[in-house]
């Protein structure tokens, strides 16, 4: 009897019949190949096309794109815009996450729905609302004109539109994390005599730093790559209100394809770096969460 069982297990090991909760090899291969084909057609080929088209006319032309004054101005404006929008939204994200996860109050649900708004509103509408508010025929248009302030078709409009499309990311990254972590440690710090800011800087911040970084990275990627909303408020004034994505559009529409794709490859690299850092940070954030739960 024991021998028979022994025989059965050796047979099992040698031919490895599939487990009841697995599919047959044919199904596995078909599904994996379908998925791989989809990845290739929709994700890998477009990415490859950007670099291939950018380098088609040689590396010389590729690098000359980045010495063009209009392109350099666009890069500067993009960096400037992100340098305002990302810190502002980081501040907002931390404040909103603190209010939402640490306190109960009326309208909390509405507040957190409002934070998601830019994620499901068309970027064109995001730009549109600011033109309707600040544009020459907008609600505040005459008043702004009387004070010689320009917001639409100028840098402030681009910054505001970017702030709008990127404000959910930090808050979205923090809220689930802070909800899961709870506030027991903060309360302990308070009873030990720590003051408000000390609690935040010495207890909360170390606990949430990876989640915070995660949100900042996503916000930054979106801030540097936003097209629709910024396009509506920019007016496309070369050297003045063109960000990198808008400069790509201009080059492309002027049939300067190599330059357009060279500049696009810069943003693609940024996207790949973002994905890499994001995977790492996600992993660290998960570790941090597991640590605080154990």
């Amino acid at each position: 009897m024991a021998g028979a069982i022994q025989d059965l297990t050796t047979v099992r090991q040698s031919t490895r019949p599939r487990r009841a909760t697995e599919e047959g090899p044919l199904t596995r291969w078909t599904l994996t190949l379908l998925s791989a084909g989809f990845f290739t057609a929709f994700l890998l080929l477009p990415l490859g096309a950007v670099f291939a088209e950018g380098l088609r006319r040689g590396a010389g032309l590729y690098f000359r794109t980045f010495t063009d004054p209009a392109t350099l101005d666009a890069i500067k404006l993009t960096l400037f815009t992100a340098s305002i929008a990302v810190p502002a939204n980081t501040l907002f994200g931390v404040a909103a996450a603190w209010a939402i996860t640490r306190f109960e109050f009326r309208g909390k649900h509405f507040l957190s729905t409002l934070i998601d708004l830019p994620l499901w509103v068309s970027p064109v509408i995001a730009g549109l609302v600011y033109v309707l508010l600040f544009g020459s025929q907008g609600v505040l248009g005459p008043w702004l004109k009387a004070h010689h302030w320009r917001i639409i078709y100028a840098t402030p409009g681009i910054v505001i539109a970017t702030v709008f499309v990127t404000f959910p990311f930090v808050a979205r990254g923090l809220i689930p994390l802070m909800q899961a972590q709870g506030s027991a440690e903060e309360e302990a710090a308070l009873t030990l005599g720590a003051r408000g800011w000390q609690v935040f800087l010495r207890v909360t911040l170390p606990k949430i730093k990876w989640g915070l970084l995660y949100g900042i990275i996503l916000a930054n990627a979106r801030a540097m790559g936003e097209f629709g909303a910024v396009s509506v408020v920019s007016g496309h004034i070369r050297g003045l209100t063109n960000t990198v994505p808008l400069q790509i559009e201009i080059l492309y529409n002027e049939y300067a394809f190599s330059a357009a794709f060279a500049l696009a490859s810069l943003l693609s690299l940024l996207a790949l770096v973002t994905l890499g850092v994001k995977s790492y940070v996600e992993w660290r954030a998960r570790q941090q969460l597991e640590q605080s739960q154990s």
């Binding site: 929709f42 033109v131 702030v163 994505p245």
Partner: protein, 273 residues
Amino acid sequence: MRRILPGFPLTLGFSVVYLTLIVLIPFAALAAKAFSGSWLHLWAVVTSPRVVASYELSFGAALAASLINGLFGFITAWVLTRYRFPGRRILDGLVDLPFALPTAVAGIALTALYAPNGWVGALLAKIGITAAFNRLGIVLALVFIGFPFVVRTLQPVLVALSEEVEEAAALLGATRLQTFRRVIFPAALPALLTGIALSFGRAVGEYGSIVFISGNIPYKTEITPLLIVSKLEEYDYQGAAGIGLVMLLASLGILALINTVQWWNARRIHPAH
């Protein structure tokens, strides 16, 4: 209720002021502008044949793309959670590429790829299919944009499905296909629907990737967000606000739909509540 932790007035006050300035006032301006002129004019603008044609295109293409994403998103989520093969982690990271890649870059890349002289477009042209500068191109761009939503909503659900249930189904004599149809698929369905709805919602408003690949031909490949931009360029602020309001209401409808699916699912799992 007694609040132990400090910072409630500061953080809530800052959040509310910030959102009022960035969101509430501008969106109030949208509503104010839409209803500023005659209501008859507003109605005429949002129901004019060219605008209606753009709704049909935007919603039709978004629906087609989100259904394609439902199918391939399910397959991809399944393969990534259930199978082990070299390069799986890299593929898993790449799923988010459409979130990270600027839409303008996606637009020119897909156009280069699917244009009649592009890598894929040339192959399609041989069998008589025009992808770029056609409605098919719009659907392709929207598939790219919406892909991560279905995969990312399904993955945690597929991971959380307990193996015991599948083993039990197998022990009771179910074939693998029966187990999938009667056990796995019903459990994953709410997440799948949520993913499809999110992908649809994103696709309806998409602008950056489409303006390059669609060719922007009125009545044929002109999407609604593009019409808003045209109205603004003609300084027809009321018309732009009106179309914007229609789109905003549609987005609200989609959001309500997603919440309903999630509520239905929560009730299905915990019927007592």
